[in-house]
Symmetry: C2
Subunit: 193 residues, 2 copies
């Protein structure tokens, strides 16, 4: 059973990948990229450290442009992140029969609701799996038990979140990315304990 | 990390138990019983076949009585099942720091919504885990890959669902349980493949 997991190198998507592997799936990790910045490098290092095959999911730069438009229009990132994530999920649904991401119970965004999940599964004849059964504290518990983790200020070299390329394009368009993304610390999985 | 898993011997709660064990938790399985019928025996056999420790969670018969009242009043079981499950979950939340059940994404009942989960976790200072990240088809995929399963008509000896004792008490009270529970096939995990 092959499963494609949208992967950022963070705790959530790393736990999703490990659960699926330990339950017998053949796991392949995929990190979205829109050709603006090589933000997938961090995730590819995490994937290698955890012994998972990793590929870059090359997506149309226009998706990133529309994401930036949404965020600049809104003044905050939630709807833009939701949009870009749904596009990435739709893309891997055309490639793998089973797909997954690391969204958890208390995530606000990116998150597919129940109707979106049903639609995604039915239109593409895929199965979609995520971490909605796990809350923040449980993810922390599992991650600290399983992984070596580095915590760094969110910046380009330590993250493969959508945020990296979104911020790059926002800056290219003459805005200040810090007006839309508050500074926060980024955790990255750097290996098993 | 010790976790108490509400366990029926079915596919869902068996998969939840296996995921948690494979992620490093010390798993203990618990089957609710209200003193009306020894419905836990089927689950204890499944637990043994999967090499998990298993205990009976003895609960107040008045919970079962109220459940039957709700179901007879409604004419259908959903709200009653929701009630009895929430009582069982509340009980194990007083015993274990981390608790889990096998409810999955497309279950209608028993299922805690997001607000109920937050309340459960905050009031009891526990972490609650379930299978909301997995849909029906994925559960079937995993179960058929992992487990030997027996399929039988739902009857007393092959199930440890709440339904068994509810039906017993409904009959004791002079009703026909088939007026409330449609006949359906019951799957039970009888070992690993």
């Amino acid at each position: 059973m092959k499963v494609g997991v949208l992967y950022s190198g963070g705790k959530d998507s790393s736990i999703m990948a490990v659960i699926l592997k330990r339950m017998g799936f053949t796991v392949e990790l995929l990190t979205a990229n829109f050709g603006v910045y090589d933000s997938y490098i961090s995730a590819s290092k995490s994937a290698e450290a955890l012994n998972f095959p990793h590929n870059v999911l090359n997506l149309d730069k226009n998706i990133l442009k529309k994401t930036v438009d949404i965020i600049v229009e809104d003044g905050f990132p939630n709807n833009g992140i939701k949009y870009i994530h749904s596009k990435a999920i739709e893309e891997i649904a055309t490639i793998y029969p089973i797909i997954a991401d690391g969204s958890r119970r208390d995530d606000k965004t990116p998150k597919l609701d129940k109707d979106q999940i049903r639609s995604l599964e039915d239109r593409n004849n895929v199965q979609y799996i995520n971490l909605h059964g796990f809350g923040f504290r449980t993810i922390e518990t599992i991650a600290s038990d399983l992984f070596e983790i580095s915590y760094e200020k969110s910046y380009k070299k330590s993250s493969s979140d959508y945020e990296v390329e979104i911020r790059s394009l926002i800056e290219e368009e003459g805005y200040l990315s810090k007006d839309f993304f508050p500074e926060h610390h980024q955790s990255r999985v750097i290996g098993f304990k």
